[in-house]
């Protein structure tokens, strides 16, 4: 495939749509309504492409799982992949069965008792369990980091302790705890947050502009 089709044409399309999107921010609405109409149309196109990609992604996932089973022919893999396919088939059957009734909309199945039973009794429970594991990992990470080994970790630990103590009602009776906690939250944390957000936004803006003028390495590196 020529570089015109693989590289230049996509960049040209990106630039045209990108510039029109930027223009809509400034000149859309009542000034040039066509720009807002164009933005709405593009939004619809993005949704169509994204949902098509969801279908492609599902096929991709099934294919990956199939090849995983072919590579690892042991009982653990059969159980893992088998349970995934079983859940997929059951959910699909429930959805089609519920949807197929007379006068029912596509989303009807999501409200049905059968679908909700699977959601609440199978999916939600394992999600809650995973969240619990996540917080366990979080505690492990906090324990490791809040060890005083250098000047930075000392400051980090003290600031963290000030904020933790401030958040525990018992310690609010100790003079100064609330004030120090509030200061940590309001001065260094807020300042650092604003600085990080500001500089990150500038970085994002510059990369966006660079991509629009076709100088972003990630989008042009096609040999």
């Amino acid at each position: 495939m020529s570089t015109t089709i693989r590289r230049d044409l996509p960049i040209l399309l990106l630039a045209i749509v990108g510039f029109l999107y930027v223009a809509e921010w400034f000149f859309g609405g009542n000034v040039i309504p066509q720009l807002s109409t164009f933005k709405g149309l593009m939004g619809t196109m993005v949704s169509v492409i994204a949902w098509t990609a969801v279908g492609v992604g599902t096929i991709y996932g099934i294919s990956s799982e199939y090849y995983l089973v072919r590579r690892n022919r042991n009982w653990q893999q059969y159980v893992t992949s088998g349970s995934m396919f079983l859940m997929m088939i059951i959910m699909a059957i429930i959805w089609i069965w519920q949807w197929s009734g007379p006068g029912r909309a596509v989303g009807y199945a999501f409200q049905s008792p059968e679908w909700r039973w699977w959601l609440m009794n199978v999916y939600s429970n394992q999600t809650q369990a995973q969240y619990a594991i996540m917080f366990l990992y979080q505690c492990g990470a906090v324990y490791r980091v809040l060890r005083v080994r250098s000047m930075e970790t000392t400051v980090f630990t003290l600031a963290g302790l000030a904020f933790i103590l401030k958040s525990i009602p018992l310690f609010l009776t100790v003079p100064g705890v609330s004030e120090i906690g509030d200061w940590v939250q309001g001065a260094p944390t807020l300042g650092g947050t604003r600085a990080a957000t500001l500089t990150a936004s500038l970085g994002a803006l510059v990369i966006g502009l660079r991509a629009l003028v076709g100088k972003e390495q990630t989008t042009i590196e096609v040999k």
Binding site: T127, L202, A204, T218
Partner: protein, 271 residues
């Protein structure tokens, strides 16, 4: 003061300062890109410790014969909204990491995010990096490109399982991250991996500080792509970002002075 009625004939309400700032940044982007095109000397980028750590981690992966794992998080690598810039920056670093793995002979495993519209660009970046090193045949895409769908918990469980069964020498996670990063990064840490992270999303930065050995903080995510490629156009636009930063600092200082003089600076900036 601005004649609001006149301005609103040509511009949407409250966008005057936005367009002035955008033009300011754009002029500097064009200036520095033109300068790079002429081959003029460009500003130097300081060393980023996390980049050096990537090189070290790939070397370690070769020595201990364990893979390098990369992910953007289960909902990372956005390609359809304002977070595209972060995805592009992450791809630059990923391309560099894959290239190193291919060159040195380390196995690269990519846990792809749940948003399937990103798959072509992600897969393309990995294959292209292997191709550039002339080792495309060494990458088994059916084995090492993983897709788990959109469930966060499925994603984290799959990563943890992969670390335990296949091993992990280095785990890198870049881009806007949801809460899944704790499990993914901490599980890698518990398996003795070098853990590197990077995000420009400030609510996720704190979590990265807790779990990572090396970190791209905020704008470093955007600078990293330019640093690893050494591409003069990318470096040049970073200089324009610096100019915008100085402008922001100037506006902040001006705002403080004017506010002290009882002038409503915030109202002027809302125009």
């Amino acid at each position: 003061m601005l004649n609001t009625a006149l301005v609103e004939q040509f511009l949407r309400t409250g966008r005057v300062m936005d367009i002035l700032f955008l033009i300011f940044v754009w002029l500097f982007v064009i200036y520095y890109i033109t300068k790079a095109g002429r081959g003029a000397q460009l500003p130097k980028i300081r060393r980023i410790a996390a980049i050096d750590a990537i090189r070290e981690g790939v070397g370690r992966a070769v020595e201990i014969r364990k893979p390098v794992h990369w992910s953007f998080g289960n909902a990372g690598a956005y390609v359809t909204d304002q977070n595209v810039s972060e995805t592009l920056a992450g791809l630059g670093v990923m391309s560099y990491t894959v290239g190193l793995c291919a060159r040195l002979g380390a196995r690269f495993i990519f846990h792809m995010p749940g948003n399937p519209e990103a798959i072509p660009i992600l897969e393309g970046t990995v294959l292209e990096a292997y191709s550039k090193e002339g080792k495309l045949e060494e990458f088994d895409r059916r084995r090492d490109l993983r897709y788990y769908g959109s469930g966060m918990m499925v994603f984290t469980a799959a990563l943890a399982q992969s670390f335990m069964t296949e091993g992990v020498a280095m785990k890198i996670m870049m881009g806007r991250q949801p809460t899944c990063m704790y499990v993914a990064l901490e599980a890698a840490k518990l398996q003795g991996a070098i853990v590197i992270g990077g995000t420009a999303r400030w609510t996720a930065m704190y979590s990265f500080v807790l779990t990572c050995d090396y970190l791209f903080i905020g704008e470093e995510v955007f600078a990293a792509g330019a640093y690893v490629t050494g591409n003069p156009y990318m470096i040049s636009s970073l200089a324009s970002e610096e100019m915008a930063k100085y402008a922001c600092i100037g506006i902040l200082a001006l705002g403080i002075v004017l506010s002290l003089a009882n002038i409503n600076f915030a109202a002027l900036m809302k125009n």
